[in-house]
Amino acid sequence: MNPSSASSPSPGVASGGTLLEVRSVAKRFGTAKVLNDVSLNIAAGEFLTLLGESGSGKTTLLRLIAGFEAPASGEIWMSGQRLDLLPPYKRPVNTVFQHYALFPHLNVRDNVAYGLRARGTAASEVAGRVDDALRMVKMQEFAAARPGRLSGGQQQRVALARALVNRPQLLLLDEPLSALDANLRKQMQSELKALQRELGITFLFVTHDQEEAMALSDRIALLRGGTLEQIASPREIYKRPATAYAAQFIGQTNLLKAEVRAGVAVCGALRWHSREADGPALFSLRPEDITYVPGGSPPPSSAATFRGTIQQQLYGGASETLEIACGPTQALRVRIRAAEPLSGELQFVFSPEDAIRVKV
């Protein structure tokens, strides 16, 4: 197992060295391009998430790494070994399937022992390792049960134990939590994360849920229509989205189509200082980066200010979302901490550095 796993690697930097390399991989189904020249590296001990909508190619990329599909072009390497030419049963990776794919004719213990037995591990060793794996996922008492009698969450744990008992260098997880209800999902998220830290196994996790991706990942690879949109740490991708799509997919944002001239960006009623070159530019401004100025108090001198009329105030417990109009055609979203009901025209303020230039 990997010794350098206790701390998660810093974003974008492979602390434990590169474990898996995906080099310009492409995949077509018939004439449809599912993956388009995707390249990415996964560091040893990292928790990397492939995030995207359905049809983004995230599951296809996972299946290429597991060996269930062959790439049309490109190569996949793992610790100096070419992976994409090996059949799935010779790859040092294991998969947790979306619907678990447990063997219904075997009990929990035999399901977990399956991989060890297939590889010819000695029976004495199998027993001990299966026990350890079941204990790790807290399923010892269900060892004799058939998968059909288990709940979704329990099946999930067995699927996890069945994969981890083989001590893979890389664990692939294909939307493993999508079939669970919301509460169980949250709980399993934190258990997964703890397990990954503890074992130091590299996780490649596929999800369409951006909140889940943000909560779990060291880095997120955002896929869109078969191409890699951005790969960065959750904080980085949220704070500095590379594209308009990334800004909108991860969290909410206001997209501002501005015109920059002599260091000042203008978009409708909004004007702010910008270091971008002159010409048209697209900016992302997060709703929580805008706030209103309570009547009378002066705004900070460096800030950009504008006036807007409250259209809607949506209460959300800890925070509230304001939909405001500033000008006849311009609407913005503002997120503030819960406040008293607001109405009429107010002054709003934001820091120019929070307006992030994004690609279309």
């Binding site: 597991a66 049963y89 294991n94 794919a101 063997f103 004719h105 297939a118 069945r162």
Partner: protein, 266 residues
């Protein structure tokens, strides 16, 4: 308005249904009834209940030889048809090859082909091959003619199977061969048993194909048919009753297994 329609239909549908079922099952009832009649097949209504004919039947060595022959042929046919049918079903389900549509039709053809055609062509083949007619040719005839039944049943089973299980097996390091024995085949357990029962029953009852391929040893239906030419005896009724009971039991098991497969899949 709608509520009256089914009732009115049922008023004439009911006697019609009774007539149809009577047409199908009354002969069977008569056959079973007369197997217990002391005075044989003559005379109505049957009188004087007796097990005499069954006693005669159990002492009749020729009949039991024929039963044994039929069982041997049926067991062999099940093995042959299941093995080849499973391979054909796997090819139809997984492989892509030129002429697949033609292959599918050819495999299923014996289902609709009259037994007389199948029997005659197999007879010609046996003659050309110089193979003496015997129980072996009968077994080969039944086995090959019933491959289509095995293929249909097993293909349906494969279609309903969760392919992710096989991927999981490969993912866990099992070779395709190990995966076939440890995951694919256990998943097909119910369809295999169901198809086996159906093929067994069909082989036990088969006459058309058997007629062309039989040598000196008789199967049970051939033995019965041969005796009928010397006149009907209630002993025939007795053995027919036993065949009927066994067939109904086997077909019921087959049907229940099939329903269970369908339920498991959904």
């Amino acid at each position: 308005m709608n509520a009256t329609t089914p009732t009115r239909r049922a008023t004439w549908l009911m006697p019609y249904a009774i007539a149809v079922f009577a047409f199908i099952y009354l002969p069977v009832v008569v056959l079973v009834g007369y197997s217990f009649n002391r005075d044989g097949v003559g005379g109505f209504p049957p009188r004087h209940f007796t097990l005499h004919w069954y006693g005669l039947l159990f002492a009749d060595d020729a009949i039991w030889d024929a039963v044994l022959n039929s069982l041997l042929v049926a067991a062999g046919s099940v093995a042959l048809a299941l093995t080849l049918g499973l391979l054909a079903a796997l090819a139809l389900d997984r492989a892509d090859f030129p002429g697949k549509a033609l292959f599918r039709r050819l495999v299923l053809l014996p289902l609709i082909l009259p037994g007389i055609i199948t029997g005659l062509s197999l007879l010609m083949f046996a003659v050309f091959a110089g193979a003496p007619l015997s129980l072996v040719t009968v077994f080969l005839g039944h086995g090959t003619a019933l491959i289509s039944v095995a293929t249909t049943e097993l293909f349906a089973g494969l279609q309903k199977m969760d392919r992710a299980q096989e991927e999981a097996s490969l993912d866990l390091g099992a070779t395709p061969w190990q995966t076939f024995w440890r995951v694919t085949l256990p998943n097909l357990k119910l369809p295999l048993i169901a198809a086996g029962l159906l093929i067994f029953t069909l082989s036990m009852d088969e006459i058309a194909v058997t007629f062309f391929l039989i040598g000196r040893d008789n199967t049970l239906p051939m033995e019965i048919w041969g005796r009928l030419r010397q006149g009907m005896t209630p002993e025939i009724n007795a053995i027919s009753t036993l065949i009927f009971v066994v067939s109904v039991v086997l077909i019921s098991i087959w049907y229940r297994l099939r329903m269970r497969t369908l339920r498991n899949a959904s």
